[in-house]
């Protein structure tokens, strides 16, 4: 289980390959990658604030919970903070399991929890204004299925 919180970009290809290489018992590997979208147009940077110390602990707790609930061989969480440009990768998770159902469900669980239970806050900065991204009811609701 590897948890990485960093400002620097990460390399999806290298991380996915490294994760897969470490998994010798699995038949299924799922990765999810989150990318900065310029939804409204004019986005200059997506600033991501976090709570150093708690962030790592919260991510490790969520990943440990996933390892316990599903038959996973391994799990990976990488999440960036700081100022990101549109199209930059924000974060990724990866799960490895004997069967595809476990790998998919655990990856979705990680994403749902990470969205609403890990201490990150996004702020969208355009040339006109800077605005904190509001939490979505749908994201909170997504937790109910687990």
């Amino acid at each position: 289980m590897r948890i990485v919180v960093q400002e620097a970009p990460f390399d999806l290809g290298a991380e996915a390959a490294l994760f897969a290489k470490g998994c010798t018992e699995s038949g299924a590997i799922v990765t999810f990658t989150g990318i900065v979208r310029d939804v409204a147009g004019g986005l200059e940077t997506m600033e991501i604030e976090h709570y150093p110390g708690m962030t790592e602990a919260a991510l490790a707790g969520i990943a440990q919970e996933a390892m316990t609930r599903w038959a996973l061989e391994d799990a990976l969480v990488i999440h960036r903070h700081g100022a990101l440009a549109p199209h930059e990768m924000i974060m990724m998770v990866a799960t490895a399991a004997p069967h595809r159902k476990d790998a998919f469900e655990a990856a979705e669980f990680l994403m749902d929890y990470l969205k609403s239970r890990a201490p990150f806050w996004k702020r969208e900065v355009t040339s006109q204004r800077a605005e904190w991204v509001a939490a979505k009811d749908a994201d909170e609701d997504a937790l109910k299925r687990w």
């Binding site: 990470l114 609403s116 990150f120 806050w121 939490a135």
Partner: protein, 81 residues
């Protein structure tokens, strides 16, 4: 104890962290003490349903005890991922 603020709570109060001397027994009692300090605190803590709290880096509720606690953090609902 250390009190931390993140995101718009930090902006509204105007600082990321401060040391607070308080006899408050629960998070909610601490919130009431902070609200009474200045308008910017009153504004930040006007609606606690819009806030989340972590005690010693664990998410918790506003009725949580502050007994032996070293660090309390207030912030809006998280928006990671």
């Amino acid at each position: 104890m250390d009190v931390l603020y993140f995101a718009w709570v930090r902006e509204r109060i105007g600082l990321p962290r401060e040391t607070v001397h308080s006899e408050a027994a629960t998070v909610m009692e601490l919130v009431k003490e902070l609200r009474a300090r200045e308008d910017r605190y009153a504004a930040a803590f006007a609606d606690v349903s819009a806030l989340r709290v972590a005690v010693d880096q664990q998410l918790t509720e506003f009725d949580a005890s502050l007994d032996g606690v070293r660090e309390v953090a207030f912030f809006p609902p998280m928006t990671g991922g």
